[in-house]
Amino acid sequence: MPSGSPPHSNTASLPEHSDGGFPSAAAAAAGQAQPLQRPAAAMQFMLLFSRQGKLRLQKWYVPLSDKEKKKITRELVQTVLARKPKMCSFLEWRDLKIVYKRYASLYFCCAIEDQDNELITLEIIHRYVELLDKYFGSVCELDIIFNFEKAYFILDEFLLGGEVQETSKKNVLKAIEQADLLQEVRYLFS
């Protein structure tokens, strides 16, 4: 593909070569300018929020505008917090499936597509909690608040682009430790 169509002023000053038609390069560029509909990832996004409705972590695997993200977060936090403890862990929300689970004072909330498997998503959440627990050593909400970047690092080693990257707990933690260790060493000597 040409790296860019010529500016319009240039084409306009070209001698007449077509009776009302379009220069083919410009037409081709116009055709390709249409953004492709990107197929969505298995997981659309993951939110962590407290019982008070404070967002603690957000990871979006689909491109959305900030405004939409805010709207979705607000609506979902409200809906999930309004649900009673004995209720189903799944929610239909717009055309998405929401899978959520509460651990102590924190809600973990994932959005998947309707044909995805809700139960295994619940286990994804659980595995993430296990990883956090192992890393921080009996994790609590405060660990995540004050070290949220670490929580993100762990999440990125476990889920990548909305898909499960590594299911072995040992491997995920090894990868994190490796990065941490190298950092520590540099840190000491810098």
């Binding site: 379009f22 116009a30 009673k84 286990e123 540099r186």
Partner: protein, 1138 residues
Amino acid sequence: MSDIVEKTLTALPGLFLQNQPGGGPAAAKASFSSRLGGLVRGITALTSKHEEEKLIQQELSSLKATVSAPTTTLKMMKECMVRLIYCEMLGYDASFGYIHAIKLAQQGNLLEKRVGYLAVSLFLHENHELLLLLVNTVVKDLQSTNLVEVCMALTVVSQIFPREMIPAVLPLIEDKLQHSKEIVRRKAVLALYKFHLIAPNQVQHIHIKFRRALCDRDVGVMAASLHIYLRMIKENSSGYKDLTGSFVTILKQVVGGKLPVDFNYHSVPAPWLQIQLLRILGLLGKDDQRTSELMYDVLDESLRRAELNHNVTYAILFECVHTIYSIYPKSELLEKAAKCIGKFVLSPRINLKYLGLKALTYVIQQDPTLALQHQMTIIECLDHPDPIIKRETLELLYRITNAQNITVIVQKMLEYLHQSKEEYVIVNLVGKIAELAEKYAPDNAWFIQTMNAVFSVGGDVMHPDIPNNFLRLLAEGFDDETEDQQLRLYAVQSYLTLLDVENVFYPQRFLQVMSWVLGEYSYLLDKETPEEVITKLYKLLMNDSISSETKAWLIAAVTKLTPQAHSSHIVKRLIQEFTVSLDTCMRQHAFELKHLHENVELMKNLLPVDKSCEDMVVDASLSFLDGFVAEGLSQGAAPYKPHHQRQEEKLSQEKVLNFEPYGLSFSSPGFTGRQSPAGISLGSDISGNSAETGLKETNSLKLEGIKKLWGKEGYLPKKESKTGDESETPPIPQESTIMENVDQALTKKDQSQVVTQSKEEKEKQLLASSLFVGLGSDNTISLLGKADTVSHKFRKKSKVKETKSGEMTSVHNMTCSSFSSLSNVAYEGDYYLNTLQDRGDKELKKFSLNSELLDSESLTELPLVEKLSNCSLSTPSLFDDNNMEIFHPPQSTAASVAKEICLASSLLEETTEYIHSNLTEVCNNETISVSSYKIWKDDCLLMVWSVTNKSGLELKSANLEIFPAENFKITEQPGCCLPVVEAESTKTFQYSVQMEKPFTEENLSGFLNYHMMDTHSVQLEFSINLSLLDFIRPLKISTEDFGKLWLSFANDVKQNIKMSESQADLPSALKTLQQKLRLHVIDIIGNEGLLACQLLPSIPGLLHCRVHADVLALWFRSSCSTLPDYLLYQCQKVMEGS
């Protein structure tokens, strides 16, 4: 504590790294040295949103100063980034820091780089322009020798990467597939997966490497490659059937516990991997018996092994059930899966119950008896406190609705609807109720009341199709006229009662429906006079809460009723009121009413009673204005030029290019909106009644046709459902007998329990019997397909089918109207005949009509005509025995030909979905005759050669071969290799022909080889002429898509053709193009027409044509350079030929 924060914030930037005093014991674990800690604690201490905002704004402005200060070190920058991420998470804009995040990723050491990359992945989305600045950094890090740097770069690439920069990193990432560390290989595979998602064509060449990843010795890498395979198989399952064996083997190993223990999750071996594999198998085995057979064993094993009572086991079981029901059915497995579903449904755990319902919803169409088994559970779920369970139950009920249980189910749905507030739910549910009501409504009153509920709840959020369909249904009616009138009358009465209720506000759309119905059908009322109705409408018109669009509908209704009214007192008041209205539209309507009102006779003619379905004759050419135009011209006015012509002229004068999108030049609304004063009233009326009648006008033609041609006994091209039925039916008999037993057992149990049942239980039983009526074993089959044949009066066809058949019918209509002027009438005629085939006298009609057509039209096929008329000897009423004497054909030939015809008709029956040509003999000798015909399938041209053995002897090793031709790709269809042709029998050979490159006409030749009594071999040659038209199919796209495609094609050809008198108008020219070239007419805009076709397999060709007096200006465009020329040639031939 907030004081401390306030102080720190106002303090000098030099205090930046100073430690914060610790918070409570709760924060003990948090890092004391971080400013983030202070910020977080500060926020937690605040009580109001306003205070928080103030604090964060302060924080942000101090951060802004810090990040842009030249003295800020990278270490400080990292600290700032973390706080920026935090602020963004709280919903504040930190976009000033984005560029610094990229810088940090670029310049920092590992520690800082990691935070920089994290911030980038959280801040930016993949279309963000700043992302381009990251590419260099990524490229550098991918080449780094440090493992951690490589991993970080791969991680960020798998999350966000600009699509257009993929080529810059692709070779580096491909290299990483061979990296020694599995973590790098795994991440590289995921990065490629990401690329496959956003730009599939860029990674096409490395599919072979994906296979290597699938065989990787590391489980993690292999599992990662499954993401790619799942996606690719979802898009095209047929391309990966060869991998089925591998996937089955992997799954077997996983299930058998052959993986390292690391991958166990709660002692279940690699559940994520299992689920991914099950999904892939489900896709591969769909509608494919051979592939499905490969996986039965492993599915059985998976079901067996998943016995642990843990969530993750259930997740696997659920996926297993899903796969079993997706693939080609096997009764044993289905039985086990059904048992599994039962386990879910009956589980006390709510999550499992929900999934049970979901699974039931999924399988219910294949196996409705399962719902019967669980009917009591389903009833309980209907009243479940959790709305999500209720909703899934309603979804399930929606799938099992039939004419007998509709009232109960819709009532349940309405109950739910009244409780829910979420817009998405309302829209969804309202659509379903309307659909069910149209399909299965038991009587008029119920139908109208249900629709009233739909309109009042769904109101303005529902899909606009719902009121439109409803009105169309009312207007067009059904077969029984008195029934229709009753329905309409009931609607009118119910609306009048609704309008009598004081202080109730109805949604605007509902009011619009009401006003249309009242306007059209108030004449059916006995008691109420039109004046009373007008009074009610008038009251609504004076209501302030009503939108001006609705008012236009209301005033249109009043206009329709006015000619029926005897006293015009109220109408006059209305006119008075609205001729001075501030709303221009309303004023316009009022004036129209006023003028019409002055001439009652004209008004009665203009607004006849109950004629909403009649075709309206519109003089689109505005010929009645000719005098006016002539007068103007004689006074020296310039002749009128259409908009685009003026534009073109202007452009050619200025010698510059037109940069406006092509589509815009077609923007003229309606017929002749701005061409004449008469057009104004036509255009302005469009918001009211004439929009409706306009709609009617375009649709009524098609719908009449549907009933005649595409009805129950007619020809319905539903191949999918047919094959679906076939594949589903085998297990049903066993299942249903089992279920019958269960059912009987259930009822017996019920009977024994009757005494002890509480009243509540009884109610539930009652509900169950009313809900699941019609689902019993007797009706199983009817649910699977025959249900559709039950005639419901409110039946409506699905939209797709409707439009499709509508188009087909219009083609047919045209055929009928211009029957004699067509040269290819034979195939159209045949086509028409197929639709008649089910009638008892099909043979008779077929032959007689065929011969008639051929007699008059295709002289070249005269021999066949003779044969045909010969054959119609079997229909004595038409031809008496004397005819036979005239032709004197040899007896054997006649017999064989008769057989041939029989065969042809049987073949035709098989292929009724497609249009096809007549059977033509291509070569023969004394023993054998070869005939052929073409079937124009949607995706290819199917050539069928039928070989008839006329002799009484057996032929050995008959073989038909087609010579390879450079322009064609010929594929033999399975099942046509016949070593032995028995005496006096007919065999067929099928070849699908694809075009390799465009041409006008080309010969396809071949030979037939056979041995006779093992003595000598005989070879017969034949050839067939194929034209480009055999490979042209209509391309059905919207006007909008046409515009887009038009712009994207570079190859174009223009030509003006002079037309003969008879076809010198656009519709007839388009008709000719549609019939003879199989172009699809997309749109007609004024005197311009848009058409599209595709050259098989998939080269689109677009045509824009315009009529100027007797000149037809054709303008072709296509993605293929030669196609426009060929199309033009064909066009010329057709237009000049006819």
